[in-house]
């Protein structure tokens, strides 16, 4: 291993010096120490790292979180009309009073802070495990940092088909909050769960979600990241898929100064399906980075990445997406599309799509585009009497549609469309 640059070592030390490993039962303490060792070995990301070429990690790495004003709104939050089990975190700390009782049919749900004190727990086999797997071939030190220091989160074990979604709600109250959340979800054979997430969480959020999906199980995930303009977040989803299992994840991001969402997915059983999608709307001082790494390590699996970004007033979009097809992963069907709609000349989009294929019988395609609103379509709509701002919004929603269509549940898709329309309407120039 090459030695870390002095600068990187200093930055890493400065961050670690400001933190202490939480006390935990031995199994977890061990996982934390191992994670800490991963951080120390790799060093925290710096702007020189290839993997952080387009997104400056400084504010995610530095010891102190930059403050972020709390966004005041009396609007009904997303998913308010969905029947769900509510689990609320305020500035990264579980709030029992605001949450529903942690119970439900077909699954158990516990708080990481509680689990941490138990001498024996099934989470021992999972906590930090998928994150560790995800460190190869690309290092993700901020995720290891999370594993080492996270004190809160949920630990869910799903045994049946759960009809009512589990909804994680992240409230941001303090301007200087710095949250680290780590969730672990294990789906047993044939189990099924929908996970919802919404809210800004904190001024700075580092979140890891590890999802282990056994054979024939299904995991559906819809998340809406909070609207607070100044918030910063780095999130990682690590998923491992068994035979004939399904993983579907959709993320809506509006506002936020800096968001880096990584999805690291490993298809390890034949005939598994993984879809990840994202729609993001950025205005002004906004950087949104989707970094995806999908590994096909089994036969006849399907993966889809659909990312759409609408950018204006100098907003920046980043997409780094990789499909790695290992030599035994014959009959892989991999699809990747990343597109941005630039509503003005100041905005920018950087895309780095990658395919690395070692099997010979595969069908993989990827495409990346960035462009403006289609003038012909705009004129056609206007010639029918649709005012330009409304016509532009219709075309913008149309652009995002392919990503939103990845949400299977119609009611949840509708919730997301309402958010998109709301954002566009608030910015309409009429």
């Amino acid at each position: 291993m090459t030695a870390l640059s002095e600068q990187k070592m200093d930055a890493t030390e400065a961050r670690l010096a400001a933190m202490t490993l939480p006390t935990s039962a031995p199994w977890l303490a061990e996982a934390r120490e191992a994670a800490l060792a991963r951080v120390q070995a790799a060093g925290l990301p710096s702007r020189r790292d290839e993997y952080w070429k387009y997104t400056r990690p400084d504010t995610l790495v530095q010891a102190e979180a930059l403050p972020a004003a709390v966004f005041e709104t009396d609007e009904e939050p997303v998913f308010a009309n969905v029947d769900r089990l509510k689990v609320v975190f305020v500035d990264g700390v579980f709030d029992a009073d605001l949450s529903d009782p942690l119970e439900g049919e077909g699954f158990t749900i516990e708080r990481l802070a509680d689990v941490a004190a138990m001498d024996i727990h099934w989470a021992k086999d999972l906590y930090g495990t998928l994150e560790t797997n995800g460190q190869d071939p690309v290092k993700r030190p901020l995720a290891a940092l999370n594993t080492a220091y996270a004190t809160d989160g949920v630990v869910i074990r799903v045994t049946g088909k759960v009809s009512r979604p589990v909804s994680l709600i992240y409230i941001h109250k303090s301007e200087s909050s710095d949250a680290i959340l780590h969730h672990v979800i294990k789906l047993e054979e044939g189990a099924d769960l929908t996970l919802l997430e919404n809210g800004p969480a904190a001024a700075r959020l580092n979140k890891v979600l590890e999802v282990d999906i056994a054979d024939n199980a299904g995991f559906h995930h819809v998340r809406a990241q909070g609207r607070d303009h100044e918030r910063r977040a780095v999130t990682h989803i690590f998923a491992r898929l068994g035979t004939e299992s399904t993983f579907k994840s959709f993320t809506l991001t509006v506002n936020g100064q800096l968001t880096r969402n990584e999805a690291v997915i490993e298809l390890t059983g034949d005939d598994a399906v993984a879809h990840v999608a994202g729609a993001c709307l950025g205005d002004g001082d906004f950087l949104h980075d989707d970094t995806v790494f999908i590994t096909h390590d089994a036969e006849n699996c399907e993966s889809r990445q659909v990312y759409k970004k609408v950018l204006r007033n100098g907003a920046t979009g980043v997409f780094q997406g990789k499909i790695l097809v290992k030599n035994r992963a014959q009959k892989t069907d991999g699809y990747q599309i990343s597109q941005s709609l630039l509503l003005d000349d100041d905005s920018q989009f950087y895309a780095k799509p990658e395919l690395e294929i070692y099997a010979d019988d595969v069908a993989c395609s990827h495409g990346s585009t960035s462009g403006a609103i289609d003038d012909e379509a705009l004129f056609y709509l206007r010639s029918r009497g649709v005012p330009a701002p409304i016509a532009t919004d219709l075309l913008t929603l149309a652009f995002l549609a392919e990503a939103v269509e990845e949400i299977e549940d119609e009611a949840l898709a509708e919730e997301i469309v309402c958010r998109l329309e709301g954002w566009l309407t608030r910015r309409r120039k009429d």
Binding site: A377, F379, Y380, L381, R384, P387
Partner: protein, 251 residues
């Protein structure tokens, strides 16, 4: 009433004059046809009237019921009652036909200070009109013109016209690409809208459409000008002899 006087238009990007002084008046209740060789400026005229970018008006005027069209935004022209059935209707992936039409109808109503149409009334109306044009429910749900055949696109234009009930309808080669039956459907659609308060400007290359939609007046356009105006017999003359005689006569 549509009145065009001495309309001169060049391309914005190039120094190319396309319309070189067009004079044309279409009275309410009348159907005027425009014929003319390829590239003579017929589509350009229809685009300039409906407000498409890329053209520069260098002279003349165009009014609809006395209102200066050239000053208005495209959507304002539509709300004022102008409609263009495109020679090449645009495909718009992701925008549902139905959503699009309802948005358009309501936007026009709003611009005229009228109440919006209710969702159920709209549905009833569009189903009824679609049926007469043999447009099935599935096509209404699909994205605007996406995957429509050439003929379906043209019928969709007429459906939009029927829903929007404009005062002045410009049809740019709506007959091209239509089979004989579809041509009849489109012509019936147009004839059903013929009304004292509505004028038509029908751009076509063929007599066949005009057999169904009997024009009151026929104009011949060549090289950016109306060079001859007559009755329906003029269209027949073109059908039989082409433009050579007329062009020679004018030269």
């Amino acid at each position: 009433m549509l009145e065009i006087k001495g309309l001169k238009v060049k391309l914005e990007e190039e120094d190319k004059q396309i319309l070189k002084g067009v004079d044309l008046t279409v009275e309410s209740g009348k159907v005027h046809a425009i014929m003319g060789p390829n590239g003579s400026g017929k589509s350009t005229l229809s685009y300039v009237l409906s407000g498409r970018d890329g053209y520069e008006v260098t002279g003349g005027e165009a009014t609809l019921d006395g209102e200066d069209l050239l000053e208005l935004e495209p959507e304002e022209r539509a709300a004022a009652g102008l409609f263009l059935a495109f020679q090449y209707p645009v495909e718009i992936p992701g925008v549902g036909n139905m959503t699009f039409l309802r948005t358009a109808v309501n936007a026009q109503r709003k611009a005229r200070g009228e109440d919006e149409i209710s969702a159920s009334d709209f549905l009833k109306l569009i189903r009824e009109k679609a049926k007469t044009l043999k447009i099935d429910a599935d096509m209404l749900k699909r994205p605007v013109n996406v995957g429509f055949s050439g003929g379906e696109k043209k019928r969709n234009e007429i459906l939009q016209m029927a829903m929007l009930e404009p005062k002045m309808c410009i049809l740019d080669e709506t007959d091209s690409g239509l089979d004989v039956d579809a041509m009849k459907l489109v012509a019936d659609g147009v004839n059903a809208l013929r009304d004292e308060g509505r004028g038509f400007l029908v751009i076509t290359h063929y007599q066949r459409l005009l057999d169904h939609i009997k024009p009151d007046v026929v104009h011949i356009m060549a090289d950016g000008r109306i060079i001859k105006t007559g009755g329906p017999e003029l269209a027949l003359e073109v059908e039989n002899n082409g433009y050579a005689d007329i062009l020679a006569e004018m030269a």
